[in-house]
């Protein structure tokens, strides 16, 4: 427990010493939300849209902002301190505790990012269930924070990892928004009569967010898959981290090798 507390405290200290990251957390959400709103405002009122285009755009922008930022933080959490982690693990810091400290840090970033994004969004759009909407933004941030950890573990390069994340988040968000629905067809037999958009990570958070913002409802049928996404990605993150850093042992220097 002491290691978890110390590790998390120091991770957060590292994080707040990155002014650029903090600036992005504060500046990007308002910019993205407004840009999405303005860009989609001119769209026609398509039948697949759940609200007027500007609102749909702002909802899409809010989800993209929290997801992408959390993803980047997850990515850099794993990559930037890889060497230090290797030494700390050999010195006796259990690797799962180190990963946990990074996940806790990522969760804090998810909370802050979601808070900023929600504040901006709530200023521009009348939200039916504010608490619920904020919670959904946190969940969306967690999904992408964990994806960032996984990408950073498997592809430990800042540039390449960021490119993967930005493409993933952008495509996912566009598909989930309802702006570009892709329905099942004969060429996609695997998904039966379900649209392929249902399988992208942000689809269910999008539906949850829409229900919370427009109707003030908790869409349970989308909550369960969203929580499943979070838990599944958590397991994958632990397995990937363990496999990738598996060659080094833990605690060799203090004689408690494992």
């Amino acid at each position: 427990m002491s290691r978890l507390v110390t590790g998390t405290r120091l991770r957060l200290s590292e994080l707040v010493r990155q002014p650029l990251t903090l600036s992005l957390l504060l500046v990007l959400p308002p910019v993205v939300i407004e840009m999405y709103g303005v860009a989609v405002e001119s769209f026609p009122q398509l039948p697949t849209l759940s609200a007027d285009p500007a609102t749909v755009g702002r909802m899409t922008g809010a989800l993209f902002a929290v997801a992408f930022l959390a993803g980047l933080v997850g990515l850099f959490q794993v990559i930037s301190a890889r060497n230090g982690d290797e030494r700390a693990a050999i010195a006796g810091f259990p690797r799962w505790v180190m990963l946990l400290t990074r996940l806790v840090t990522m969760f804090v970033v998810a909370l802050v990012g979601a808070g900023v994004a929600f504040a901006v969004f709530n200023y521009r759009v009348a939200v039916a269930a504010p608490g619920l909407a904020f919670g959904v933004l946190v969940l969306a941030a967690l999904v992408y924070g964990l994806l960032g950890v996984i990408v950073g573990t498997l592809l430990p390069r800042e540039l390449e990892g960021s490119i993967v994340l930005v493409f993933l988040a952008d495509m996912d968000n566009a598909l989930s928004s309802g702006l570009f629905p892709i329905e099942a067809s004969a060429s996609l037999p695997v998904v039966g009569d379900v649209g392929v958009t249902d399988f992208v990570p942000l689809f269910h958070p999008h539906e949850l967010f829409t229900a919370a913002v427009l109707d003030g409802d908790l869409a349970v049928e989308h909550l369960v898959p969203t929580v499943f996404w979070v838990l599944a990605l958590l397991v994958v993150a632990f397995v990937a981290y363990d496999r990738v850093t598996g060659e080094q042992g833990t605690g060799f220097l203090t004689g408690v090798a494992s």
């Binding site: 590790g7 060497n83 220097l253």
Partner: protein, 262 residues
């Protein structure tokens, strides 16, 4: 977990090895099939370290010295062979594997937790090492704001933090100024007198007298060189008449007055 305090204080001077590696083999293979080539770095390296001895490990660039060190500490797994460690180990890697945005003080806290030390013991050891290696005034500097030499001092101090029985040092005095270099050897001598076994890797060992044994890593194996004269080593321990043999240009380098650079 072993009782680190007890192990460090019992002054074990028996001749049984505290670290033993035998038949170590390591080959780096290309991760992409049919592309690249495999490099057999170690092909059966053996080494034993006993309490109170200083062993130098030399070898040409790319001969596998750092790989050997990583195998000894457990940072890498050998393809074949085994490593047994009957003691606590301190590892000072060639690259300073530290967290750039933590301060020196926080770095000690983190590694103190890793070693399983109490806060009081971390604080005491941090004070001792900062005094011995002269980085007290940089304790609240971030690692990435330190000069190369000061960063290396912290790198070394982290290896010494838990007062290990065996010290494995990979190019430990890179970037040291002359005073720090001498302080390093003074510290080393006191550790050896207390029974610590030390292995120092260097691509260039100019002061052979300081070592009990020198092993050369060649063709993937360790070969013992002629034993250095004990008398000369004793003289070297006094830190006298060695200026002409100072390591590279580090002997005359000096730290910036502030010790820190952005």
């Amino acid at each position: 977990m072993p009782n680190i305090e007890d192990e460090s204080e019992n002054g074990d001077t028996s001749s049984s090895p505290v670290l033993r590696a035998s038949g170590l083999e390591k080959t780096y293979r290309s991760k992409i099939p049919f592309v690249g080539r495999s490099v057999a770095v170690l092909t059966g390296a053996d080494i034993e370290l006993r309490p109170g001895e200083i062993v130098g490990i030399v070898g040409a660039n790319g001969s596998g010295k750092s790989t050997l060190m990583k195998l000894l500490v457990g940072a890498l797994q050998p393809d074949a062979g085994s490593v047994s460690r009957d003691a606590t180990v301190g590892w000072c890697p060639q690259e300073t594997l530290l967290y750039d945005r933590l301060t020196v003080r926080e770095t000690f806290d983190l590694f103190g937790e890793a070693y399983g030390m109490t806060d009081q013991r971390v604080e005491r050891r941090r004070g001792e090492l900062a005094d011995q290696l002269d980085f007290e005034r940089f304790l609240d500097y971030r690692i990435d704001h330190l000069s190369g030499g000061n960063r290396q001092k912290v790198n070394l101090a982290i290896a010494l933090l838990h007062d290990p029985d065996v010290l494995l040092l990979d190019e430990p005095y890179t970037g040291f100024d002359w005073e720090t270099y001498l302080a390093f050897w003074t510290l080393t001598e006191s550790l050896v007198e207390g029974g610590t076994a030390i292995a120092i890797i260097s691509h260039l060992i100019s002061e052979r007298e300081r070592f009990d044994r020198i092993l050369e890593l060649k063709d993937g194996r360790l070969h013992e060189q002629a034993e250095p004269p004990q008398q000369a080593r004793s003289a070297a321990h006094d830190g006298e008449a060695l200026e002409s043999e100072a390591p590279e240009s580090e002997a005359v380098a000096s730290e910036p007055p502030t010790g820190g650079e952005a």
